[in-house]
């Protein structure tokens, strides 16, 4: 072996060691985050005190909570002057909070099934890793859910579905000649199918029929979810179309989109809901009664899609023009370059914005209580708080509504963060 100081050979490798106590785990975290300076110490103590007092003061309210009582009087009698919540209202009025007060109790299994199936239908849309054949079920789901929730004969949604499928088939066949020609043929074909099918389903109104539930009997959380999911799922594609229309170089299409978006964005949602409630009825022929729910869904969809269009426009603008040029120079036509190149990238950028708008929409479904529809909040404000039994139990009821919405919205936003991370890693 050379005895030269410049050369060095390590014969034994150093084992991995843990960092010193002050540099790891809880100790490190506390010293860096809680007691790093005198000011920090004071703030830490202050926060601890605030958290402590909130817990100490509210804990008895929860712990002493009464779950079994017939009325708020009875609650107070049981509590006997001690502070405590009257959760009994949630238990006693549970069906009303969830389904509204007119949905026939024997039929509760139908919305329940619809919710379970909704999760199954959403799964392949939300998680692209699942087998994509499941998307077939997602396509059928809206029609199935309509039958489950509104009842009546399944012929109605079946014919609606087949008519749509027939229209799409015609479009595929004839759009090769020209896009507009395909659209016209498809619309005519589908309408004919629906009209003829309409006679068939009217004649066989009792075929496999479930008890029909009219729209005005929908209520409770079910109504919020109904409005929220339908409005969101239609408004996202509509918003994308509006955003593309706004960028179009065909002036008429462009101006229709611009005016629509700017008008809707300039008007408060509550105004649109009043319009839906009162004025929209004038636009339809006098003896057709377009459902209030349908009118509200139209307005919410419009409102949401205008905002989504602006979010997507931001995403489109953020893409370098080189992407459009590269797609064009490879010979991709407009529809192909949008679908394969531009939208996948633009939508990825827009996810946080779209989720933000959609979560807002979900919460805004509670505004329908103002036009006297009995959604979750409408039920609480009306049929529950107005009764002599439960007059005055605000905290428990509104707290419960808040908790339900929080859970839903928080899951949605967690999902969107997960999705963003997912798309991020797949690109790097």
């Amino acid at each position: 072996m050379a005895e030269n100081n410049a050369s060095f050979v390590r014969h034994e490798l150093i084992k991995e060691q843990v960092p010193p106590v002050s540099q790891r785990g809880v100790v490190k975290w506390v010293s860096e985050n809680l007691i790093s300076s005198p000011f920090n110490v004071i703030m830490t103590l202050l926060s601890l005190w605030i958290i402590y007092s909130i817990i100490v003061n509210s804990a008895p309210w929860f712990i002493n909570g009464i779950w079994d009582a017939k009325s708020v009087r009875e609650c107070y009698d049981i509590l006997d002057g001690v502070s405590g919540a009257c959760f009994a209202v949630l238990k006693e009025r549970f069906p009303q909070l969830i389904y509204g007060f007119k949905y026939p109790p024997t039929e509760y299994w139908r919305p329940n099934t619809a919710v379970v199936l909704l999760l199954a239908a959403l799964a392949p849309v939300l998680f692209r890793k699942l087998p994509q054949q499941l998307l077939g079920f997602s396509a059928i789901y809206p029609f199935l859910a309509y039958w489950l929730i509104w009842g009546g004969t399944p012929l109605v949604p079946v014919i609606a579905f087949l008519g749509l499928a027939f229209g799409i088939y015609c479009f595929r066949r004839f759009s090769a000649r020209s896009f507009a020609f395909g659209v016209v043929i498809a619309v005519i074909a589908a309408s004919l199918f629906w009209v003829l099918g309409g006679y068939l389903s009217e004649a066989n109104g009792t075929f496999l029929a479930l008890e029909a539930v009219p729209s005005r009997d929908m209520g409770g959380l079910m109504l919020n979810l109904l409005l929220g999911t339908i409005a969101c799922s239609i408004s996202i594609p509509l918003g994308v179309i509006l955003a593309l229309g706004r960028q179009s170089n065909m002036p008429i299409i462009k101006w229709i989109c611009v005016i629509f978006i700017e008008f809707i964005r300039g008007v408060p949602l509550i105004t649109l809901l009043f319009v839906a409630n009162v004025i929209l009825a004038f636009f339809f022929p006098p003896d057709t009664s377009i459902d209030l729910i349908l009118r509200v869904i139209i307005m919410m969809t419009f409102f949401n899609s205008a905002y989504i269009a602006e979010v997507v426009r931001g995403g489109l603008a953020a893409l370098p023009t080189g992407q459009y040029e590269a797609a064009n120079s490879l010979g991709l036509d407009y529809a192909q370059s949008m679908r394969l190149i531009i939208l996948p990238q633009a939508l990825k950028i827009s996810i946080p914005g779209i989720v933000n708008v959609s979560v807002g929409m979900l919460k805004d479904t509670t505004l329908v209580s103002i036009i006297s529809m009995f959604d979750l909040v409408g039920m609480i404000r009306g049929p529950i708080l107005a009764t002599s039994e439960w007059n005055g139990v605000y905290w428990e009821l509104f707290g419960c509504a808040a908790a339900i919405f929080f859970v839903i919205c928080f899951s949605v936003s967690k999902y969107s963060q997960w999705l963003e991370r997912q798309l991020e890693t797949s690109n790097r």
Partner: protein
């Protein structure tokens, strides 16, 4: 030394431009351009910044619309008819300064996308073609990566492979090496030289004068939206005629 002599140039016209004018608003970018490129020619376009080089080659595949005159590419006149334009574009490959690969698709998908959607080629065959051209540009092993994971030079070679997959008859290059570090320029230029040797009709905007001398059979000098001078590379560099050309060459070559 100069390989151009070996390369055949046919009499068939690949790109014919006659009396073409283009305006951006009221700004007259291209003025009375007359240019004929025969099949197999390698044209290098140079000129000072803002002289309209990019605009000229972008007009050739209708990324920019011209307002008067005539452009005939591969026998088809460029009009505002969409069908014509899509046909031309799928026959003409275009390379950009910033590569413009599709970042959300893998290298292989970048190369197969247009084959599958424009040419309606089955996926397996498209992938075979893609691998063939990725091998040709010497990066078959990167096929499953995303563009963001590649170096600039590799990305530009992928872009070349992506264009070649469409089996274009003409290739346009807009400063393909000017966003690259010096050590990567060579790998891209080598790929382009190979293309030229395969007989590709090429129109290249570049400041790489070495490339022009070695590969081009004609150099075009543009200034203020017009073609000021064109000649064979030897003549062009050794014996420039106009003062503008002399000034430009002294700036770009001189130290």
């Amino acid at each position: 030394m100069n390989r151009q002599a070996k390369l055949e140039v046919s009499d068939e016209v690949a790109i014919g431009i006659q009396g073409m004018n283009k305006w951006f608003g009221s700004f007259h970018v291209l003025r009375d351009i007359d240019l004929t490129v025969n099949r197999g020619e390698r044209i290098v376009v140079c000129g000072p910044s803002g002289s309209g080089k990019s605009t000229l080659i972008r007009c050739v595949n209708a990324l920019e619309e011209h307002q008067s005159g005539q452009i005939i590419v591969d026998g088809t006149e460029l009009t505002s008819d969409i069908k014509n334009i899509d046909k031309i574009r799928s026959e003409v490959g275009m390379l950009f300064q910033h590569f413009n690969l599709f970042p959300h698709l893998t290298i292989l998908e970048n190369c197969t996308l247009a084959q599958i959607w424009v040419r309606k080629i089955p996926q397996a065959q498209a992938e075979e073609t893609a691998m063939h051209f990725l091998t040709k540009v010497k990066i078959p092993e990167q096929a499953d990566k995303y563009p963001g994971q590649l170096s600039g030079g590799q990305q530009q070679r992928v872009a070349i492979a992506r264009s070649l997959c469409m089996r274009p008859r003409i290739m346009l290059f807009d400063e393909p090496t000017s966003a690259l570090d010096p050590e990567m320029i060579k790998e891209v230029l080598d790929t382009m030289i190979e293309l030229a040797e395969d007989g590709m009709t090429m129109m290249v905007v570049t400041h790489e004068m070495g490339f022009a001398r070695q590969v081009a059979n004609r150099v075009i000098f543009m200034d203020e939206g017009q073609i000021v001078e064109q000649n064979e590379p030897e003549e062009f560099f050794n014996n420039p005629q106009s003062d503008r050309t002399k000034l430009f060459l002294s700036q770009i070559l001189g130290h």
